[in-house]
């Protein structure tokens, strides 16, 4: 959404520049047709390249289109962080992504890299097929909790147990987002969803599954971390974890697993701000943030090489 708005604003500015009329006069003449926001922009001096230094822009690994994600959704941020990492590491031509079934099913519409859209839960098997044939490439899967922790848990465990040299980015927002908010294996106890209208009952469905802890016990996992993207600090940490997950692939030491506790305001029936707060107040009680498995001993020396 944001990019589209910017484009519109730019067009507006350009057209205004070309018009010979006095700007302030124009504004006073047609107050009804100009929104408050446009008014503000029109008042400001035009941002010229020579006057300002560009300090932030979309990575070239992102396709410049508006996204289908809801306001306040964590997916768009995670997409951007992953693509920033690919851009900064200069590995666009060696990176192949595997999209899941779920909200991120259209990830290939936004990520400007070669991608495969896998069947529900099978992304890590599909990624295995790619990585085994292209061992020098960077391969990642992008999966949600329903995809990875329910229907695809077998593929997840076996892929990591084989120590496939791929990165798995696991968006855990505790619901099935795409199918509009059903209970996921990671839904919190008492959490109301469309299929647990009275709240998730521990006697019926057990505790939420903690995938990162589970797979950290497998020798094939090399780096396991759980992050969030609900604050600027969290985003920076998540970015670092994603960068690590790509860098470590070079070592061929096993699977890098980055879990992201994601906001899902639409299905949590919250405002984006409430959803961000919910992560801090409730989600991280069950899914504490931080590194779960870090390279040790000899592997630490190897890490120096990829830095």
């Amino acid at each position: 959404m944001r990019s589209e708005e910017h484009t519109l604003v730019e067009e507006e500015l350009i057209s205004k520049k070309d018009e010979p009329v006095n700007k302030s006069a124009e504004i006073t003449n047609t107050p009804e047709s100009i929104t408050a926001e446009e008014h503000l922009i029109a008042e400001k001096p035009r941002c010229l390249d020579e006057d300002y230094e560009m300090v932030y822009h979309k990575p070239k690994t992102m396709v410049d289109v508006s996204m289908h994600y809801c306001p306040g959704c964590a997916h768009s941020l995670l997409h951007k962080l992953i693509m920033e990492a690919v851009d900064e590491l200069g590995i666009q031509d060696k990176t192949i992504g595997v999209a899941p079934v779920g909200c991120a099913v259209f990830a290939y519409d936004y990520m400007n890299i070669d991608m495969t859209e896998a069947a529900h839960g099978r992304a890590s098997a599909t990624a295995t097929g790619i990585k085994r044939l292209l061992p020098d490439s960077y391969v990642f899967t992008y999966q949600g909790d329903g995809d990875l922790a329910a229907i695809g848990i077998a593929e997840t465990i076996h892929t990591i147990n084989r120590g496939e040299n791929i990165a798995i980015f696991f968006m855990n927002n505790a619901v099935y987002g795409m199918t509009s908010g059903q209970m996921a294996p990671t839904s919190l106890i008492g959490m109301k969803t469309t299929t647990s209208p009275y709240g998730r009952d521990v006697h019926e469905y057990g505790e939420p599954i903690k995938v990162s802890e589970l797979i950290s016990h497998l020798p094939g996992s090399f780096y396991v971390t759980r992050q969030a993207v609900n604050s600027a600090t969290a985003v920076r940490k998540a970015k670092k974890a994603i960068m690590n997950a790509f860098k470590y692939q070079k070592l061929n030491k096993g699977t890098c697993f980055v879990e992201i506790i994601g906001n899902c305001p639409s299905n949590w029936k919250m405002t984006p701000l409430e959803a961000s707060k919910f992560i801090d107040s409730e989600m991280i009680k069950v899914f504490p943030l931080g590194d779960i498995k870090l390279p040790k001993g000899e592997d630490l020396k190897l890490l120096e090489e990829v830095k």
Partner: protein, 349 residues
């Protein structure tokens, strides 16, 4: 060589880059043979955690532009159907071998032909077809691997070799060297996007109905080409035949024997053996029906291909069925008796 081993050796010789599989009787020899031989050629072989995983590994590797193959037997092929549907939807080439055992359910490990419908009518969800090759000898188990890979690449569609437990396990002489592996350019493959081209993506998803309809139309136009160019069958003594047997795979071998026995009795019998089950030799069967009095379809199931034979014949002559199933193999005598009974009944009318 065993049929399964011949298929595995052919895969290596046909330039198969990767094999992903899961053990199941009666086809485990394919995985065993390749687990031993593929590493010697620097190729990829991997025993997956399930058939569900192996077909999705195929999906990934085929999407990256490699020659890939998997094999299984009936229950395992059922597990693969979702993945096969995705592969057909995303138009990826790959080779899938089904060493058919008898079912339903866990069934038995003995040979069967009960997967004809599954193989030829799609098998998984949605509108698609596989190109289906039915070998009736160990030599064909090998030859059809070369043919299968080439057809898969040519049409960007999964190809199935539909065999059975008897052909997979039987030992016969095989010669190699007749075919050479063909390499095909795959500019659509996901190998990493250079700056010089747009990104490639492999998907079967077309969320807008208008787009999806166009996509399925495109796939079906491709099948029209397949039907035009790739129909294969074998005929035995059909020139002067009055009675036609129709059978594929192992059943066809048994029918061949039955035709010889019938000829010895002075009954002018012939055999048509569809080699491609999709595309089905419907035109040829329709032509042959013009000069036949009776057609008898013989299968190791309760009657599946007979429906396609009837559609091909389109009511010109009666099409009868004889089947053994549950892992039982028809005896040539039974087929001779069945046809003689039908002839006698015909005369009585």
């Amino acid at each position: 060589m065993k049929g399964n081993e011949a298929m595995a050796e052919a895969a290596i010789q046909a330039g198969c880059d990767a094999y992903f599989g899961y053990p199941i009787t009666p086809q485990s020899e394919v995985l065993e043979y390749l687990a031993k031989e593929m590493p010697k050629h620097g190729r990829v072989v991997l025993q997956a955690e399930s058939e569900v995983a192996s077909i999705n590994m195929i999906y990934g590797a085929a999407g990256a532009g490699f020659r890939t193959m998997t094999s299984s037997s009936s229950p395992g092929i059922s597990l693969m159907q979702e993945g096969i549907s995705y592969i057909a939807g995303a138009e990826l080439p790959c080779l899938i071998a089904n060493v058919n055992r008898a079912g339903p359910g866990l069934g038995t490990i003995q040979p069967g032909q009960g997967d004809y419908f599954q193989a030829t009518k799609g098998g998984g969800h949605g509108d698609y077809r596989l190109i289906v090759l039915a070998p009736s000898s160990v030599q064909e188990m090998a030859d059809f691997v070369f043919l299968g890979f080439d057809l898969a690449d040519k049409y960007r569609n999964p190809v199935m070799i539909l065999s059975d437990g008897a052909i997979g396990q039987m030992m016969e002489k095989v010669t190699f060297g007749k075919f050479k592996p063909k390499k095909v350019d795959k500019p659509w493959a996901t190998v990493g996007k250079p700056e010089t081209r747009e990104r490639n993506f492999i998907t079967s998803l077309h969320i807008k109905s208008e787009d999806m309809e166009k996509h399925v139309e495109h796939i079906y136009r491709k099948y029209d080409e397949v039907k035009k160019n790739e129909v294969r069958y074998e005929e035995i003594l059909t020139d002067d035949a009055e009675y036609l047997l129709a059978a594929y795979g192992l059943s066809a071998r048994i029918c061949h024997k039955a035709v010889n026995m019938l000829r010895e009795k002075g009954i002018k019998a012939g055999l048509i053996r569809p080699i491609t089950l999709f595309p089905f030799p419907e035109e040829r069967i329709n032509q042959l029906a013009d000069k036949m009095k009776i057609i008898l379809t013989v299968e190791m199931n309760t009657g599946q291909m007979v429906e396609d034979v009837r559609l091909s014949v389109n009511g010109k002559v009666p099409v009868h069925f004889f089947g053994r199933f549950g892992g039982m193999i028809p005896d040539p005598d039974e087929i001779v008796n069945k046809l003689e009974n039908l002839i006698n009944k015909n005369h009585a009318l």
